[in-house]
Symmetry: C2
Subunit: 212 residues, 2 copies
């Protein structure tokens, strides 16, 4: 069966996204300095060869263990699940060939026909809740895995359902002070994880937690 | 000059202490299950040989790199600084030979004579604010270092003063869901750190951040 996983960049103070990073301010990254803060959070990824190749940014880049991690994380995904806000931000900024190349299930309250993009990404809009989205993702992922892509509220919903098998965190040495926290609204019984693997890199500490 | 450092256990969701862990409930660890949660947070420390020796819990214990880290962290301390609430919790629970063996500066609004304990711990009560406490700690620490022991609010004050040289975190694979967060109330400009060292252990991920 597919593994359900989260893979997310986190600031040292626990934020997935800085204050000001929203659809409204998507084209004004200087608003609350969100662009620079986001850049610092994700600094570990920009020079990786696989990232550059995947986003068609040109040749070159690092080819060490972080690059291997990035490649294996991306290649194991058979389906993505995301929230409506994340989709709307992406709809405004992704290229026509959206960077997923898998079925993507979008949790929403508005019915909408599936939206097929070049390159193998099809967005399906699910109004029957997170469990139904996961069921559909399992059907389409085959032997590959399911990524709960975000945002924070969607990850929290799946953590609270107890279905997240692996939680992969790239903990960056930055303090945001405010923004959108990953770990909030957790209900009892809280999910239990053990440390599975740590990859030590100067730009971020990559920790994989596996459900106990 | 002495290095000013923080060394703290953190839950994966960023809490230093679970909900319910306060002086009022010190003798009822079953209240909100705080005792078990605290135990899970600090699980990495209890079997270390140095911890057992230091707290006179008897012989035996692990003697690997985590034990070395614990020993060097403790032995480099020439003075401690803590808040009034942490002191009051400790006053109610430490043995006569308080587990510091250094001068301890307690930030408070109430004047009180220094309190000398057997074993080299003297508590001095500082009413002139965190900068004055740090000045006194520097005078007494000599070539050894100064630990900002806690609680969260005191660590936040020193982070906001920009004087924390090293931030050492033992990130435990537990989710508290609520409690006292370490990283709150950070003011601009926020302190900037780089990753200095990661020690990978099954019970906690030990990361040292150094101020940039």
């Amino acid at each position: 069966m597919s593994t359900v996983f989260v893979n997310i960049g986190l600031s040292l103070d626990g934020y997935m996204a800085p204050a000001g990073m929203s659809l409204e301010h998507w084209h004004t990254p200087e608003y609350k300095d969100w662009g620079a803060q986001w850049g610092a959070l994700m600094a570990w990824v920009f020079d990786q060869q696989y990232f550059r190749e995947h986003l068609k940014l040109g040749p070159g880049g690092d080819t060490g263990p972080v690059n291997d991690l990035l490649r294996s994380t991306t290649e194991r995904i058979g389906a993505n699940i995301m929230g409506k806000r994340m989709f709307e931000q992406g709809e405004a900024s992704w290229p026509a060939e959206a960077p997923f190349h898998t079925p993507v299930y979008v949790l929403t309250h508005e019915k909408r026909e599936p939206w097929e993009r070049p390159g193998g990404t099809t967005f399906s809009f699910i109004t029957e809740g997170p469990e139904r989205a996961l069921e559909l993702a399992r059907e389409s992922a085959g032997r590959r895995d399911i990524r709960i892509a975000g945002g924070a509220d969607v990850i929290q919903q799946y953590l609270n359902l107890g279905v997240v098998d692996e939680l992969e965190v790239a903990l960056a040495p930055v303090l945001f002070g405010s923004g959108r926290r990953l770990f909030e609204n957790l209900r009892e019984p809280r999910p239990q994880f053990r440390i599975d693997r740590v990859l030590d890199d100067p730009a971020a500490t990559h920790v994989r937690y596996v459900r106990q």
